[in-house]
Symmetry: C2
Subunit: 245 residues, 2 copies
């Protein structure tokens, strides 16, 4: 997906969910002056743990992982970045995690210093950034429950349920009910890293869910959930604490 570098924010697919969501026309004009688009191919690094990160970027299109790799090679993905999610933060010049494009990724970005100035001077930016960060914090804590206490089967189910919910938001549909088709933006290996499992266990549990009729697997990167509520029951979580993301 290519975007015209000077295209209007009005046509931006993440206009109403990204860090600019609360901005008015005047503020958007200020942003447009200093924003720039950049596209990365699948597999490209968008940031590296411990390295400098000079921009604050919002994902416009595509999908990326945020992860850390331990000295001996064990990797844990700590966030799956989808359109409207951001990379970087005001007040810090290095990234604590690796960020890697899963598919071709287009970002809308600001030079760090300039963005810090925006956060200081435009309350609509600061306010939206706070809301998004609080939401991300809740999501990260929800994910800790998945990583710490769920079985392999439940982890797979929880991941598919959360992915279906996020795709619904991105495509501006209602929350998933009944039968849902899902495209997986990750390989089995990336899923395993996200779930704290091995690739073999991930594969086996997908097969098990398929044999139990809870999912169909028409292609390696395609999942059909015939009954969303039934799959959600497999997570062991009654969901009263908020949406898992």
């Amino acid at each position: 997906m290519k975007l015209d570098p000077i295209s209007s924010c009005a046509a931006c697919p993440i206009r109403h969910r990204a860090v600019c969501a609360e901005c008015d026309a005047r503020e958007l004009a200020l942003l447009a002056e200093i924003k720039s688009y950049r596209t990365f191919p699948a597999g490209a690094p968008l940031a590296a743990a411990g390295e400098s990160l000079d921009h604050f970027s919002s994902i416009v299109a595509g999908c990326a992982t945020m992860s850390r790799t331990l000295e001996d090679g064990r990797r844990q993905t700590v966030g799956l970045l989808m359109p409207s999610d951001y990379i970087g933060r005001p007040g810090r010049a290095t990234s604590p995690f690796d960020v890697e494009a899963l598919s071709e990724v287009t970002v809308c970005r600001f030079e760090r210093r300039a963005f810090e100035k925006l956060v200081r001077e435009l309350p609509h930016i600061a306010s939206r950034l706070l809301t998004m960060t609080l939401d991300e914090l809740d999501a990260a804590r929800d994910w800790a429950v998945v990583l710490g206490r769920m079985t392999a089967r439940e982890k797979i189910a929880a991941f598919l349920v959360s992915l279906a919910r996020r795709q619904a938001v991105i495509e501006e549909r209602d929350g998933p009910v009944g039968a849902v088709a899902l495209h997986l933006p990750l390989s089995r290996e990336a899923m395993a890293d996200h779930l704290g499992l091995t690739i073999e266990t991930t594969s086996r549990q997908i097969t098990a869910l398929r044999k139990d009729g809870l999912i169909e697997v028409p292609g390696k990167r395609e999942i059909v959930i015939p009954d969303f509520e039934a799959l959600a029951l497999e997570t062991g979580d009654d969901g009263d604490g908020g949406v898992i993301a």
Copy 2:
């Protein structure tokens, strides 16, 4: 620990780290008008998942856990709240998690509506809240690495290392080096819930670390780390991505 309800913010132990840290004298006076202190005994619930939460509270003294319990009783702690940490958020009337006092806890709190007004009208509050939330998000993501990829032994080591670091911050000392004494604010069960382990595995790994000379255990709630760096090496993380909290 009891605090005078009308005591001056100037003498507050979390004055320079809490959500009010960036406020000037004039702003503190505004806060003082609407703040109230409340103390909870050990074991008391400060919030319940799915229930309404009418205040934004900062922990002044004591320690609490933030957790979720699955339908079948499995529990995962998603955050260990220490002085200066906050409970609640602007724009949301219910808590996504249970919050429970581990020791006697004193909080400084604001009625939710009043706090939302503060966030809107005092940029120093909004800015500090954003910084704290971004830090919490990094910490939650760091913890995901512990939960998802570390062994039981590494989890215990990572927890003790992170606790030592946080205690140093709270007591306004330098970061831990060499020999460090540590008071555990949690029971073995609470530690297990935090680490995604059983209480038995937690106990066994503490014993193993003791037998290996990496820690001493003078009391059930007391740990001495004779060589902080040696224990940090047991976490398998080289720490280049930021402090684990």
